[in-house]
Amino acid sequence: MTDVIDRDAAAARTVEVASAAPPRRRPRFGRGRLATLAFVVPALGVYLLMVILPSLQSLQLSLTNWDGISGAYDYIGLKNYQEILGSGRFWNAVKNTLILGLGSAVIINVVSLVVALMLDRLTHLQGLFRTLVYLPSLVSAFIMATIWKYVLNYNFGIANTALRDLGLPTWVRDWLGDSSIVVWVILFIICFTLGGNTTLIYLANLQSVPQELVEAARIDGAGGAKVFWNVTWPMIAGAVTVNMTLAMIAGWVIFDQVLVLTSGGPGFVSETMAFFIYKVGFGEYRAGFGSAAAVVLFIVVIASTVLANAYLRKREIQA
């Protein structure tokens, strides 16, 4: 009886509380939110001023004949875009960007995954090897390209000097001056120096693959390759999406290596889209034209990234 009365009293108190004055609302701009805004707004302001507004202005300038220096310019409609799309030089730059961008994205990811798999198996000195793998990423692309420029110099570079000294003079090439191979040489240099971040992302994802699934597969008689394709590979699909997206975006805007190694030459053969934009927009006093090329590059990057992401995300499995 006492229990029933206690229970009823408790229920009554609950009803009282429920029908009492509505719960106190949190103020819209409480101190916590104000503090958050105080930290976010300056950075957002800088981002708007430095990235968004100039990008919108680039769109506006792409419709003009501005030379980048004069105070005045005229609107010329879509003439810049017509010239770009009809320019053989531009399409050559697109081709090179595809080779370097997609090529480096695929190669870097394959190599990084292999290295990550090897690192994952290490039981000793994993930290040391992780550091060694990551070190090339710490050197700026500009400096790395400058070093390679000296290494690959036709007359004085260590590569050709070593080949001649080893009695292989027929292997000697003008690595950065031979139009038939220069783009592939740049691709090699890009792949050689990038990949540290990619490897670490793969390694982190490999280490989060549930071991029970791997053991279950092994118990069922699956070998190493089958375990990888059927268990590990689907589980790291998210990392593949992230790494491929980042590598593709980086590939589309390859510039430093081209500037240092070849200046787009010999002739125009190794120009990429980013280099083309720089060359005409800055180097040739055609800022309006360069802006139009930048808008085209932006559209290409967005479209390819969205398509690639859509495909890669289908493969992802939530663990």
């Binding site: 503090a35 105080a38 930290f39 300056p42 004949n65 030379d67 980048g68 220096i69 004069s70 105070g71 005229d74 010239e83 690959l152 110099n153 036709y154 007359n155 004085f156 003008d174 690595w175 950065l176 001056g177 031979d178 139009s179 070849t262 200046s263 787009g264 030459g265 010999p266 002739g267 125009f268 053969v269 720089y278 060359k279 005409v280 800055f282 180097g283 040739e284 006093y285 055609r286």
Partner: protein, 453 residues
């Protein structure tokens, strides 16, 4: 339920500290972005500091600028000049556009693409007290009657665009300096027959590709000298890029048969090493005495000589300096500095020093040919560098023929850059000569139309 007061005490204090630190960081960043235009007043209040922007591709010029500025700063009571060198390999147009976009023009600028900046109102005028120190034909006024640039070296045009050769090799193999174009081709053949590489040239930075091209094209350009210049006439349809077919064929033949392999990726400075290492007997150059100076520094015993490739009639056609127009270069005072009395006065003071006899002798000592000042007779030329006598002898050569080819449309630099790359493409065998001519003509038409708007 009451919260423990001890848990809440730390948070507001920490939040306040973080806010203050973040605010200080933002303020520091904002202040770091502010800088005085062209220079500043000295902290002591007595001297005005001005910046001097210059290209660093030529080692001799770097040495000259350094020694002149040191000497000036030691003696000036009102001005300190701070050097603002462009990193080697920098694109000049990009560098100038950046200083313009950031409103950070130095007071003194070693100018390129001058007409573009004159038209955009970015340069201040050079006063009479400076121009009066120069010979009358060493400078010229722009269309508005003002002088915007003054020379930084002697107006010997493209006399510095020549071929440096190994005199000892020539002596040992009984070879002589060519008197005609045919002699030059025979010279190349003879050296090749000895099993040696006749000629080294460079194209890695694109602009050195002019070194072999211009002497070959000079006979065609020279024909239009009195008519307004080849490029102006070609832009207006009175001449055609097709007329350059013969020199382009010569360029292709010489490149394929006589130029040292690897020219596509050879940098200009490396040709000095190739010459001194005897990897080539001759090398193209556009640095005049400066290249001879570089060779002497690398190997004081190297016996260098120089010549310019003559035409088939033995005439040595050399482009005269443009003192006005887009291809004109020289020292300029920025409009930004000209708007500040002290900056302007300091800039003028430095330029007056630059054109003094003392400064000219300092330049000559460093291996630089001083500008054509009014008191040139008092300047002591430096002919002690091996090969320098050949250079000064060219000035007195009866076969020397100056021609003019100063483009007057502001977009010529775009055409020039495009043509250089198109020529390298052709030399490399990627395109035919006819394709090169066609695309260059198209580019010229487009750029001339853009300049007319």
């Amino acid at each position: 339920m009451q919260y423990s007061s001890a848990r809440t005490t730390g948070r507001p204090v920490l939040r306040r500290v973080v806010t203050v630190v973040a605010g200080a960081a933002v303020a520091a960043l904002a202040l770091a972005g502010c800088s005085g235009a062209g220079g500043t007043a000295d902290a002591g209040g007595s001297k005005t500091t001005i910046r001097f922007l210059y290209a660093t591709g030529d080692e001799t010029w770097n040495t000259v600028v350094d020694s002149l500025v040191k000497d000036f700063n030691k003696n000036s009571t009102t001005t300190t000049v701070k050097l603002d060198p462009l990193p080697a390999g920098s694109d000049y147009a990009t560098a100038l556009k950046t200083v313009d976009a950031t409103g950070n023009w130095p007071a003194l600028v070693d100018m390129r693409d001058t007409l573009t900046y004159v038209n955009a109102g970015k340069l201040g005028t050079i006063p009479k007290e400076v121009t009066s120190l120069l010979q009358p034909d060493a400078f010229a006024a722009a269309k508005d009657g003002n002088v915007y640039t003054v020379p930084y070296s002697a107006l010997n045009g493209e006399l510095g665009m020549n071929v440096i050769y190994d005199k000892d090799y020539f002596k040992a193999h009984k070879l002589s300096v060519p008197k005609t174009y045919d002699d030059f081709i025979q010279l190349l053949k003879d050296i090749k027959a000895n099993g040696d590489a006749p000629l080294a040239t460079a194209a890695a930075e694109v602009w050195p590709s002019d070194q072999l091209w211009k002497p070959l094209a000079a006979p065609v350009f020279a024909k239009y000298s009195d008519k307004g210049g080849f490029w102006n006439d070609a832009a207006e349809g009175k001449a055609s890029v097709e007329e350059l077919k013969a020199p382009l064929e010569q360029l292709k033949m010489i490149t394929d048969d006589y130029v040292l392999k690897g020219w596509q990726s050879t940098a200009d400075a490396q040709t000095t090493t190739l010459l001194v290492n005897k990897q080539a007997v001759m090398a193209t150059s556009s640095a005049g005495l400066g290249r001879l100076m570089d060779i002497q520094k690398v190997d004081p015993k190297f016996n260098a000589g120089l010549f310019i490739i003559p035409d088939e009639n033995g005439r040595i056609n050399v482009l005269k300096n443009s003192v006005v127009g887009d291809s004109a270069g020289g020292l300029a005072i920025s409009k930004q500095a000209a708007g500040d009395k002290k900056q302007y006065a300091s800039s003028v003071e430095f330029l007056k020093y630059f054109y003094s006899v003392g400064a000219a002798n300092l330049m000559e000592k460093a291996g630089w040919i001083s500008p054509n000042i009014a008191d040139s007779a008092k300047v002591k030329h430096n002919d002690s560098i091996p090969g320098a006598k050949d250079y000064f002898a060219l000035l007195k050569n009866p076969n020397l023929h100056w021609y003019e080819n100063a483009p007057t449309f502001s977009t010529f630099s775009s055409v020039n850059t495009f043509f250089r790359q198109a020529r390298i493409e052709m030399q490399d065998g990627q395109t035919s000569i006819d394709q090169t001519i066609e695309k260059t003509q198209t580019e010229l038409a487009a750029q001339y139309a853009a300049a007319k708007k």
